[in-house]
């Protein structure tokens, strides 16, 4: 992990410093099922404001609509009612300026392209020349400097996810969206990648939304953990995590960490207790 990539320790704010980074107001999302049946209400009035440079984890059981929230911030879904603003405008406006980064549970890499070309992809899609030094530094950041010429199927699941994260960070996005990026990995790899992601993030401070069902992961990485309940999805509880960064293993072994994790697990087990 080198410091070469990240000389700007502050989040990139752009010109719209007066706005929140992400703002959801009264967001409702319904999916039509069939003509005869009622549409499925996935989200029921979600309000969420994320500040610039904040790391927010959306935590909840599967089917609670947390991925739908992320997909709406990413501009991949439109809300049925309410509004979704990213950096003071519609997500589409940010996408057009290539200011959004995303990583999914399956790494979603181009199988015919090398690790290097996959990390260079955002530059090419934005129609910019590929800065070789920057791509090399990104690969170094995720610990894959020796695998630039390898293709995804020659790499392990963890390595593929590292490339996916490097690609998401390539254009120094205003907002970074992570949808269970380590969800398909084994517990040990997942823990190590979370520690590394936390360390990189502590230097970058990019506004980040992480979707996860892993309580420990959420508490370890986020400034705020937003607990969601299912069907229809709504926010049940917001847990600020104020521990200083970088959060190393001393943090995840500490009493305070486990106390928060246990409380949130209990909340997920019986969400009605946590509803405000």
């Amino acid at each position: 992990m080198s410091g070469a990539v990240v000389d700007n320790g502050r989040p990139s704010r752009g010109t719209d410093a007066g706005h929140a980074a992400v703002e959801l107001r009264g967001v409702v999302k319904e999916f039509p099922l069939s003509r005869r049946r009622e549409p499925l209400r996935a989200l029921d009035g979600v309000d969420l404001t994320i500040a610039h440079g904040e790391f927010v984890a959306l935590l909840g059981p599967s089917g609670c609509g947390k991925s739908t929230v992320l997909r709406m911030i990413a501009g991949l879904e439109a809300p049925t009612a309410g509004s979704v603003e990213v950096a003071g405008g519609a997500p589409a406006a940010l996408i057009e300026r290539h200011r959004l980064g995303v990583a999914f549970q399956d790494a979603a890499l181009l199988p015919w392209a090398t690790a290097w070309d996959n990390v260079a992809l955002p530059f090419r899609l934005a129609g910019r020349p590929v800065p070789e030094e920057r791509v090399r530094a990104l690969l170094e950041t995720v610990g894959l400097e020796g695998f630039a010429r390898a293709r995804p199927k020659q790499l392990s699941g963890g390595m593929r996810q590292r490339i996916s994260i490097a690609r998401a960070m390539a254009l120094e996005p205003d907002v970074l969206l992570l949808d269970e990026p380590f969800g398909a990995l084994d517990a040990v790899t997942r823990r190590r990648l979370n520690l590394e992601l936390g360390a990189v993030w502590a230097r970058l401070r990019t506004t980040t939304v992480l979707v996860t069902h892993d309580v420990a992961e959420a508490v370890q990485l986020a400034d705020r953990v937003v607990v969601m309940t299912g069907r229809p999805g709504a926010l049940a509880h917001v847990e600020p995590v104020s521990a200083p960064r970088p959060r190393g293993e001393d943090f995840t072994r500490g009493h305070a960490f486990h106390e928060v994790v246990d409380r949130l697990v209990a909340l997920l087990d019986d969400p009605s207790d946590g509803r405000r």
């Binding site: 997909r71 990413a74 501009g75 991949l76 996408i95 057009e96 300026r97 290539h98 959004l100 980064g101 995303v102 999914f104 549970q105 399956d106 979603a108 890499l109 181009l110 199988p111 015919w112 992809l121 955002p122 090419r124 899609l125 934005a126 129609g127 199927k153 690609r167 254009l171 969206l177």
Partner: protein, 248 residues
């Protein structure tokens, strides 16, 4: 080890089959129209058989290649058009299926009167090849959305760069899939097309051998076009396998 054994079994099977062919021909069990394989081969190897077969094969392969090229271009273009203009897709598929269900034999006389007997073989070859490539490519292009599509969308990729950097490379194995089917189809189309009065080619040789009861020459011509077709299919299957390794 198992690979060697499988190869050995394959060779043995082909050998038995060829032996039966030879035996039936020698004993005359199937009548005059079944010559022994050895006489077919020796006709093909000797003069003037070799010259006649080579000339006919060259002509047919040239027509098939022209038709294959035209068919591949048309098939890829049509599938690409369906990708860019989605509302055209359904209509084009129906048109393609309609064209492919018209029997080539029925199409022949129509083509002879419209494009002429010289150009009928490549046109029929193009129809067969184009359909195979069109079906393969449009099914590759209409593959369901994956998270890679989502990544491209979030990264703000234009339609053109999504086409060039995602759709096209992802469709390469399907293209060779279609091509491996299209090449024998083109060859068959060219031979059928030649029946309708082309000046030269395997099809012409087949018709004239039949009418002159040149049984050995008939078999040699059929064997020749089968071998070319098999070789084309085998080569393209190998290319397809390599492309699957490279593009998935």
């Amino acid at each position: 080890m198992t690979g060697a054994r499988r190869f050995g079994t394959g060779v043995l099977g082909v050998g038995v089959l060829l032996g039966v062919l030879e035996l039936v021909g020698r004993t005359g069990a199937a009548g005059d129209t079944w010559p022994p394989l050895s006489s077919v081969l020796s006709y093909g190897a000797g003069e003037p058989g070799r010259v006649i077969l080579a000339r006919a094969t060259r002509a047919t392969v040239a027509e098939a290649a022209t038709g294959l090229l035209a068919g591949v271009l048309a098939g890829v273009a049509a599938a690409g058009l369906g990708l860019v203009v989605p509302w055209l897709r359904a209509g084009m598929s129906q048109l393609a299926v309609l064209l492919s269900t018209v029997p080539l034999i029925a199409l022949g006389p129509v083509l002879v009167t419209t494009v002429g007997n010289e150009r009928t073989p490549p046109v029929i070859a193009a129809l067969g090849a184009g359909f195979a490539v069109f079906v393969a490519m449009s099914s590759a292009f209409s593959a369901p959305r994956t998270s890679l599509d989502d990544v491209f969308e979030v990264l703000g990729a234009s339609r053109a760069s999504t086409l060039a950097r995602l759709r096209a490379p992802a469709a390469v194995p399907a293209f060779f899939d279609g091509l491996a089917l299209a090449a024998p189809a083109a060859l068959l189309g060219a031979v059928v097309g030649e029946w309708f009065g082309a000046p030269r080619g395997i099809g012409v040789l087949l018709v004239s051998s039949m009418q002159n009861f040149a049984v050995v020459q008939l078999w040699a011509a059929a064997l020749c076009v089968s071998l070319v077709s098999l070789a084309a299919y085998g080569t393209l299957t190998g290319v397809r396998r390599a492309s699957v390794r490279r593009f998935t």
